[in-house]
Symmetry: C2
Amino acid sequence: MSEFRKDPLSDHWVIIAPNRAERPEQFEIGSSKRTPGRCPFCRGHEEDTPEQTAAYDASGKMIEQGAWQIRVIPNKYPAVENVRQSRPARNDFFETRHGVGIHEVIIECPDHVTAFSQLNDQQAALVFRAYRDRMAHWRGDPRLAYAQIFKNSGASAGASLEHAHSQLIATPVVPTQLETELHRSAEYFQLHRRCVFCEMVDRELKEESRLITQTEDFVAFCPFASQFPYEMWVLPRQHSSHFEFAEDGKLAGLAAVVRDLVGRVEYLLNEPGFNYLIHTSPFGSTHLRHYHWHVEIFPRVSRTAGFEWGAGDYINIVTPEQAAAMLRSAQMP
Amino acid sequence: MSEFRKDPLSDHWVIIAPNRAERPEQFEIGSSKRTPGRCPFCRGHEEDTPEQTAAYDASGKMIEQGAWQIRVIPNKYPAVENVRQSRPARNDFFETRHGVGIHEVIIECPDHVTAFSQLNDQQAALVFRAYRDRMAHWRGDPRLAYAQIFKNSGASAGASLEHAHSQLIATPVVPTQLETELHRSAEYFQLHRRCVFCEMVDRELKEESRLITQTEDFVAFCPFASQFPYEMWVLPRQHSSHFEFAEDGKLAGLAAVVRDLVGRVEYLLNEPGFNYLIHTSPFGSTHLRHYHWHVEIFPRVSRTAGFEWGAGDYINIVTPEQAAAMLRSAQMP
């Protein structure tokens, strides 16, 4: 049973997914100590997981069997249900919809590597190509409006297994945060005839104080209104609205930048847990002039407290300018 | 230095407050084990804190000196600055305002009690009366638009000191979450000529499945679209828009309900950290027909992960109906 519920007091959806309560926990609560056990994500343990929905070899070619480098499986404890026939919605004061959707796990490597930063550039590139391919795949499904790609690394970031992996959750509703960004960026475009993200890239490159690194194709910085200490964003320099249309070469470059940033954070902050996620345009569009896909990275070094839950606004005790200066100078040994 | 920054892509404010980075941490990171040390909040250690802004005796009378039961002090590491003359705002692409405001700590008892549930009913009532008095006090300050009362209990909930205490942060901006609730409840009122919270109270009392407890004046339930497992709301049954106008008798009843709920959570879930907070109307109004103050309580038993940060929506693995059934049957020994 999985259900979307709409809060009558906000525009937020909640996914009520009680079957996820049964998922095993490899980390002890409140600690990052791992309880030992057979890893279901390692090559050779394929029978411990649901049957794969895709697998890729070292060249990025999709394979049916053989030595996979990336393996995509349905999440064994999904937040949403991949069913064709949905239960009817309830649209009275308490609004619900059947929790239809896709919840996949992208296993990033065959060996028991636990840190994304420990993958080599080629493997990291394959991970980002797999993100794109799965998103392109689900784009064609008429039940779905959006796919969220995200990574939880470490117990403090919500990971329950340590083997390097990411997740995809595709839903019939566009997430609240995306709706807000789409709405605000459309307003900005209306007013200025320009993509607000392109404007942001230009300003960050010019101001330099929040810049961390740049390549020919990407720019990485600590955003001006960072919600969290050491929050980092990576944007393509050229306007691009849909992540799933990105080319292999671009994705290899992106993977290298993200791996570099994660490595800097691990070095600087003693390997904290972190999340990263991709914000992109909804499936029901092919090109948007006002929206610009990007990657957001959140090291988990602070605790969200009562003020934040109540206000919906954040207190950040590290200025983005300080954070960027430290991240600029951080180099992995 | 403290600064409000507005995210150009959402309506969210971030408070950048680097001086809070210096605050001492009584809990070890990632654990709830306390490092010993002299508690600055215990009676007799008043010189360890900034000078009090208010203190109350056992009858709730404000006192200048003598045996306090509740003591209110400026936060030594404030998120906002209590200054008369603010720095000019910056209103270009990157919008900032000087982080003017009030950040107070409400010390809930003179002895070293670490759990709100361990206060007696009379002391708990004094705590809620202090909340009201401080809110009523700051309401008169023309710099301020809203005061957020909240409690962080336990390291996992963001507390840095264990002695029972709450906080007040008053700001010149109305927090995003409140703006949303005000906007949505005004829309609902426009359409239905009724307070959406009053409607919710009626429905929860009628449906019963999410109800936890009720008194003559208050009703407590797990909200229909609970973002977190065991999330609990307490609402006055009678329409009331401003917490700071609540009478002593009502506040004593509210304190007893909140203490009861926190006790149930501690018993049921093995004393997790928790936050609670009060949502009420902004200072610039005296009576609103569409808004209804309430208390929200969040036990910290789950970890927010990449999906939530990216989507702005939540996955909750305990249905509010399950949670309410368990909380109904939970009784402190």
